[in-house]
């Protein structure tokens, strides 16, 4: 009943200002298929407006798409929020939008393109998605969990926008589900460098199709859901991470 799943939990779409139109639902799914990825996390900066499009486009493919966001906290820490239910991702998005000052400048940061599952452009998001929210990290994590989501600290090996870069170390009152490392370092290096009592996942943080699956985490699960991955991160009920 358990199967191995290859998960890349941190992918940006053409909604993030730092990406191009090739990160459309089709572009993403074609690249993911080529790399044999089974679970994809859609995490645009401070927004989840393209998650549903990728989920719908994946319906007849054998890929589980998890709706999510990469939220920037008040401390300028990036944290991934992943859900099983697109509605819940949108609830977090609503909270984020209420606390995200500024407007996007396309010339400076790039276009923020909202699409549907048929590759049609629905519009442009004009919020300053690249900016920081005024929400404390702790509050974001609590909010993610109150909607049954999964909270993962992004690219902790990087200096900028990572929990360790911004805050020096991980405060012990935080209820993170995992720490993410970028493709820049290996699991072995990460284990040596970061002595924290959290599971470590690796994802690509892809902004280009060719980067999807560059780094991934393998799990033994019944199905490709956040609920299952959360169990695996805790080594519960037979679910686990596999290397």
């Amino acid at each position: 009943m358990f199967k191995p799943f290859k998960a890349d939990l941190h992918i940006h779409t053409c909604l993030s200002p730092c990406t191009e139109l090739d990160m459309s639902p089709k572009g993403i799914l074609t690249a993911a298929k080529k790399k044999e990825i089974d679970i994809l996390g859609i995490c645009d900066h401070n927004s989840s407006e393209n998650s549903l499009a990728v989920m719908n486009a994946a319906k007849r493919m054998n890929i589980s798409v998890l709706p999510g966001l990469e939220v920037t906290s008040q401390e300028e820490v990036h944290v991934l929020a992943l859900f099983d239910d697109a509605e819940k991702a949108l609830k977090l998005q609503e909270r984020v939008y209420q606390n995200l000052p500024g407007e996007n400048d396309e010339k400076a940061f790039g276009m923020q393109v909202i699409v549907n599952e048929n590759e049609e452009v629905l519009g442009l998001n004009n919020k300053l998605l690249i900016g920081a929210t005024t929400l404390p990290l702790e509050e974001i994590i609590q909010f993610i969990h109150s909607f049954d989501g999964m909270a993962i600290a992004s690219h902790i090996d990087r200096e900028s926008f990572s929990i360790i870069g911004q805050l020096g170390f991980i405060p012990d009152n935080l209820d993170l589900d995992a720490l993410e490392i970028s493709p820049a370092i290996t699991f072995e290096e990460a284990k040596r460098r970061f002595k924290y009592n959290y599971p470590i996942t690796c994802s690509s943080d892809a902004h280009y199709p060719e980067d999807i699956g560059k780094c991934f985490t393998s799990f033994l699960l019944e199905e490709g859901t956040v609920a299952e991955i959360k169990k695996a991160l805790k080594n519960k009920e037979g679910r686990k991470m596999i290397r």
């Binding site: 008040q74 401390e75 300028e76 404390p136 990290l137 200096e159 360790i164 870069g165 911004q166 805050l167 020096g168 170390f169 405060p171 009152n173």
Partner: protein, 113 residues
């Protein structure tokens, strides 16, 4: 220069840690990346930042800094105030920007590095 004098000259608000105002300040360090402060600030420095997360207290303690100036009218989180009291860390508030506070402090004590 003593902390007391600097607080007076820069018109800083003392939020916590009123007991240790006679300490000598060895210099200043301005940064919002705590990993950078851990790596590069020096013992006895006054740290200028807009970060208000409670980790700033642990960093000040770890590096034995003389105090923290939170700039731009930012209010420290409740946990931060609590921790600063417990650890007896001097937390100061300024209405001004990091650039102005740093410039004024530099004017008073210069760079000691």
């Amino acid at each position: 220069m003593k902390l007391r004098k600097i607080i007076e000259k820069l018109q800083l608000k003392v939020l916590t840690g009123q007991e240790n105002l006679e300490a000598e300040v060895t210099g200043g360090y301005t940064s919002d990346l705590l990993s950078d402060v851990i790596a590069n600030s020096k013992n006895g420095n006054l740290w200028i930042t807009l970060q208000t997360h409670q980790n700033i207290i642990a960093v000040a303690k770890l590096k034995d800094l003389s105090g923290i100036i939170i700039v731009n009218k930012r209010e420290p989180d409740g946990d931060t105030l609590q921790k600063a009291k417990e650890e007896n860390v001097l937390l100061l508030g300024s209405e001004e920007k990091a650039f102005d506070v740093s410039g004024k402090l530099y004017g008073l004590i210069g760079s000691k590095d």
